[in-house]
Amino acid sequence: MYDGERIRPAYEQVMDWVRRTPAEQLALKKAEAEALFRRIGITFAVYGEGGDTERLIPFDMMPRVFTEAEWRRLERGVKQRSRALNAFLYDVYHRSEIVRAGKIPADLVYRNEAYEAAVVGISPPGGVYSHIVGIDLVRTGPDEFFVLEDNCRTPSGVSYMLENREIMMRMFPELFRTSRIAPVDDYPDRLRRTLASVAPGKCEGEPVTVLLSPGSFNSAYYEHSFLADQMGIEIVEGQDLFVQGDFVYMRTTEGPKRVDVIYRRIDDSFLDPLCFRPDSMLGVPGLMNVYRSGGVTICSAPGAGVADDKAVYTYVPDMIRFYLGEEPILKNVQTWKCSDPGDLKYVLENLGELVVKEVHGSGGYGMLVGPKSTREQIAAYAERIKADPADFIAQPTLALSTCPTFVDDGLAPRHVDLRPFCLVGKEVHLCPGGLTRVAMREGSLVVNSSQGGGVKDTWVLAD
């Protein structure tokens, strides 16, 4: 938020309010917010830590603020990228022009774990594979945004965006009265309409949409039930659905009811034991056959993961040029692929300055933040890279922007990133807001909630 020494104009109003409010009252508000979150039951389980599967994510009352002009540019960039990613997905499951043109290596696409040969030649309605694209961004200057990664499967966190806003409006109504903050609460309705817009051709009448969840023991279950509720659709588990003839049905107290669109929050490999993992108890036997014969739409489409692979990421600017004939508006972070011998050499020589990630990893696990690591940690990580170079990519540590955040002794700058949510159906829509994640520890660059990161409300101010 700092523009050199000056506070960015977008923050003036909020900072003014902070200055006028006594510290004790701010502390009270903070406690109140936490109590609200626990009461509502927004929790997030941390993988690998055991114990409490219903932990709260830290919420920071200080919003992150964008002006409308700043947002407009970002919006163009995110939409552009979402369109290109979907064009790429359609292409690699059909004629693969981009591979034929030599713009991306065949191995990277076809030998990718996330590439599903089972859906080659299948055309999902509207040609859309990724209906909700979550693009993780960091800001390094007033008009400079970098994309950290794309999430084309089932990006999570949108419930935080909505609940954070809800809590902020309950606690600080005066701020919302005086500032013109773009609303985000129509997101569930937009999502519902986006999903309905890609109903299969065989659908008769109003499409029946359901959210397919792994169940209440999943760490993101809160979000699943929240979204289903907000959209007014059923939240189902695999056991609730079955295949009969050409269609998928859900078991209801009134008998079987046909389902047209499945917004799934389970991985490809668990969708259907007859197509993918035979031991999956979460999925629906025969679902993929109904999907492939056009009886149901699955969102995101099976196989969409090949577009958000960290190694494929480096080619997204080329995709934008190839499919849209445009120059990318959002930049990619420079990325060294350890599968490339030259890059590998550079990475190993400069580990102290780089961030290294596993190609298929997520959630901030298994990564090395060079400048924050000890000599021993770096040496150990170097061995891991050498053992399987193709599994790693490296990026420079960016001069990330910071945002004022409430910590134990008042406001202090903390690093943030941003995940806006882009809906792709018949139309493309970017919700004016998003999930701002903040690294709560001083100097930390890791914002993942699984690594102790927190969240903030994200405001887009009208001009």
Binding site: V120, V243, N289, S293
Partner: protein, 271 residues
């Protein structure tokens, strides 16, 4: 050659099943090597639907049976005119990139004894791809003796080579793994075979490997019979391994243990 097929699969459940769902790859498609004269798949009390042609060009259908059910009998019957294409798969429309078939599955990961066999068999840099494929096939025939009952559905290629025994599934997996290890796309093909008079009854259900040869396309190799598929073969479909290419994949919910009885008869019709 005119081949008549009768393939029955009978499931018996010791406690009634609530619901049975199956994905069938039981409908052969026309290629240069086979013309389907007539074909039917039937099961009493079953619903069929959700049919489509997948990216590999196979015809897939879905079968469901509502319980409670204690016995399901699936009867496949048909007549196919076959031609010898010396193993080359021609006239088959498919969309999946051959590069996909370079990626091993858990059944075809090349390790241990299998890698040694590859090294002992060829110098990958020498000879044509076709020559290499033939030598691999011969090596598999040599390395794995036909011995039913020594391996099971989940035996991997490397395990079968290590054991030195197996059935057609193991031969095919081993050949796929060897081909992939030297950069040749390879896959599993399932189908029927008109076997000699001495063969056991269930021998007619068969599997072999297909290897992608530059300039020729997909070429079948049957290490179990030390030959390439000819007019005695009917091809049902393919996949990266036995599981993916299985003629029937199914899930049964509720109920108890399952007993399976499969009978396949392939006969040449006299003209």
């Amino acid at each position: 050659m005119l081949l008549n097929v009768r393939h029955t699969t009978v499931y018996g459940f010791d406690a009634p099943m609530r619901f049975v769902t199956q994905s069938h790859r039981l409908n052969p498609v026309d290629t240069a090597g086979q013309k389907i004269r007539s074909w039917s798949v039937a099961a009493e009390g079953a619903a069929f639907g959700a049919a489509f042609t997948d990216g590999a060009g196979d015809r897939i259908t879905t079968m469901t049976v509502q319980g409670p059910v204690e016995r399901i009998e699936i009867v496949v019957e048909g007549e196919v005119e076959t031609f010898d294409t010396t193993g080359v798969l021609r006239g088959h429309r498919e969309l999946i990139s051959p590069v996909c078939y370079l990626q091993p599955t858990s059944a075809t990961v090349p390790t241990g004894a299998l890698l040694e066999l590859v090294r002992a068999t060829v110098d990958a840099a020498r000879g044509t791809e076709l020559a290499r494929a033939h030598r691999f096939s011969a090596a598999v025939t040599e390395a794995i003796a036909y011995a039913p009952g020594t391996t099971h559905a989940h035996t991997t290629a490397a395990e079968a080579v290590e054991l030195g025994q197996g059935v057609c599934q193991d031969h095919a997996h081993a050949l796929i793994a060897m081909a992939q290890a030297t950069g040749l796309p390879a896959r599993y093909a399932s189908g029927y075979l008109l076997s000699g008079e001495e063969a056991a009854e269930d021998d007619a259900s068969h599997a072999w490997a297909e290897i992608r040869i530059e300039g020729l396309g997909w070429v079948g190799f049957d290490p179990a019979n030390a030959c390439c598929p000819d007019e005695r073969y009917i091809r049902l479909g393919s996949g990266r391994d036995a599981r993916e290419a299985a003629p029937i994949r199914g899930v049964s919910r509720g109920g108890g243990a399952e007993a399976l009885d499969v009978r396949v008869e392939v006969a040449q019709r006299q003209q």
